[in-house]
Symmetry: C2
Subunit: 221 residues, 2 copies
C-alpha cells in the first residue's frame, strides 16, 4: 500500500508517520520508484504498537525507542529482552537509566525488597527496575505507618503470583515483536485495571460487611 | 507540649504547622495563655497523617483537606465515608470532582466496567470514582490489542478480591480517623507495592520457564 493508505489504515497523520520513519521507529517501505515506497501489514502492526506504547501506555518517546530497539535487535535471549523492555516502563526513579545492567558491585542496596522477594522464594535480578520500585513502595508504606507484614506479604505474594502465571501463559508463543509488545503493554496497561478492581472489591466487601442491605446494589439516594 | 516540641516530635517545620493550623487541617491546641497553646498526642498523629497523605501518597492539598474533612465530620456512615475518602485518590479524570454523588441520571455510561463488575457478581455504586477508572483502564487495554477476556477477568477478579478481603480484615475496628487513614493510605500506597510484586513475579516465572539454569538466582554476567 502507499503511505496515504497507511495513514488511512492506522489513523495516524502523514507527518507523524514521516517522523517515525525519520527516527527509525518505523521500518522503511519497499522502494518501488524514486518517489514511491510500498508498505505492508507489518507497517500497520508496527504503527499500532508505537501508538499503544506512547499514547495508551504513556511511554516517553525515548522509552518507546528502547522497546522497539529490543524488538528489532536479534541479540540477547527472550528472557533478557523481556527484563529490559519492562524496565523501560514508568515509574522512573530519578537516578535510573533505561538500560539496566552493569556489575553487581554498582547495585544499590534494596534491603526491604530483598527481604520480601527472598521471603517469597523468588529469583530476581538485583538490577531489575522493579526491585528499586518495590523498595520505594515498601519504604512508603512504612513511612505511612502501615508497613508490610509477613502475613500481608504472603497473601499478596500468592495472589499476585497467580495473576502473573496467567499473564505468562497467555504470552504469544512465537514472534519477538508480539512477545515483547504483549509483555510491555500487558504490564503497563493491566496495572491500572488491577488497581481499579481492587478498589471496587474493597467497596463490594465493605458494602456487604458495613451496610445492612447487603444483597442490593449500593447506590446513592 | 508547646508547638516547638510538636516541630521536634513530627519533624515538620514551624511555618508548615502554622499553615496547617491556619487552613484548619490541624486542630488548634488548647489555649493556656494569650500567647501559648498546648498540643497533645492527637496533634502528633494528625500531622503524621497529613504528611503521609501529601508526601507519601502524593495527594494534592485539596484532596488531603477532603479526607481530613471526612474524618472530622460526624455525618454519614463509615461505608459512605470510605467511598468518598478513596475517591479523593488519584488517578483523577479530567471532568471528575472530588465529591462523588448526585442523581443517577447524571452518571456517565461505563459499559466495560459495568459488564466486568457484574460478571464478578459485585455490588457497586456507579458514581464511585473507581468505576470510571476501570472503564478507562479497560478501554486502554482494548486499544492496545490485549482486551480483557472472561478468563482473565475471572483470574484477576478472584485474586484481587482475596487481597482486598485481607485489606478489610486488617482495617482498625474502631476510630474513624484510624479507619479512614488506613483505607486511603492502604489503597494508595499498596498499589505500587502490588504493581512491583507483579513485575517481579513475571521475572521469576519467566526465569524458571525461559532459562535453563532455573534453580539459581538470575544475575547479569
Amino acid at each position: 500500500m502507499r503511505i496515504s493508505e497507511l495513514v488511512e489504515r492506522t489513523g495516524v497523520p502523514l507527518a507523524t508517520l514521516k517522523f517515525y520513519l525519520r527516527e527509525g521507529m518505523l521500518m522503511p517501505g519497499e522502494a518501488v520508484s524514486a518517489t514511491r515506497a510500498e508498505y505492508g501489514e507489518e507497517h500497520v502492526r508496527r504503527v499500532a504498537l508505537i501508538r499503544a506504547l506512547s499514547d495508551v501506555a504513556g511511554l516517553p518517546l525515548q522509552r518507546v525507542t528502547t522497546v522497539l530497539g529490543l524488538i528489532d535487535s536479534p541479540t540477547g535471549s527472550l528472557f533478557e529482552s523481556l527484563g529490559t523492555a519492562v524496565a523501560a516502563l514508568p515509574p522512573y526513579a530519578d537516578d535510573e537509566t533505561p538500560d539496566a545492567g552493569g556489575p553487581a558491585a554498582d547495585a544499590p542496596e534494596f534491603p526491604r525488597a530483598h527481604a520480601a522477594i527472598t521471603a517469597l522464594g523468588q529469583v530476581y535480578d538485583p538490577h531489575f527496575a522493579a526491585v528499586a520500585q518495590l523498595e520505594r513502595a515498601l519504604a512508603g508504606v512504612e513511612t505511612a505507618g502501615i508497613p508490610m507484614t509477613p502475613d500481608r506479604l504472603e497473601v499478596y505474594g500468592t495472589h499476585v503470583r497467580a495473576m502473573a502465571e496467567f499473564d505468562l501463559e497467555r504470552m504469544p508463543g512465537t514472534g519477538r515483536e508480539a512477545q515483547l509488545g504483549y509483555a510491555v503493554l500487558g504490564t503497563a496497561l493491566y496495572e491500572p485495571v488491577i488497581a481499579a478492581l481492587r478498589r471496587l472489591a474493597h467497596q463490594d466487601i465493605a458494602a456487604r460487611r458495613l451496610t445492612e442491605d447487603a444483597g442490593m446494589p449500593v447506590a446513592p439516594e
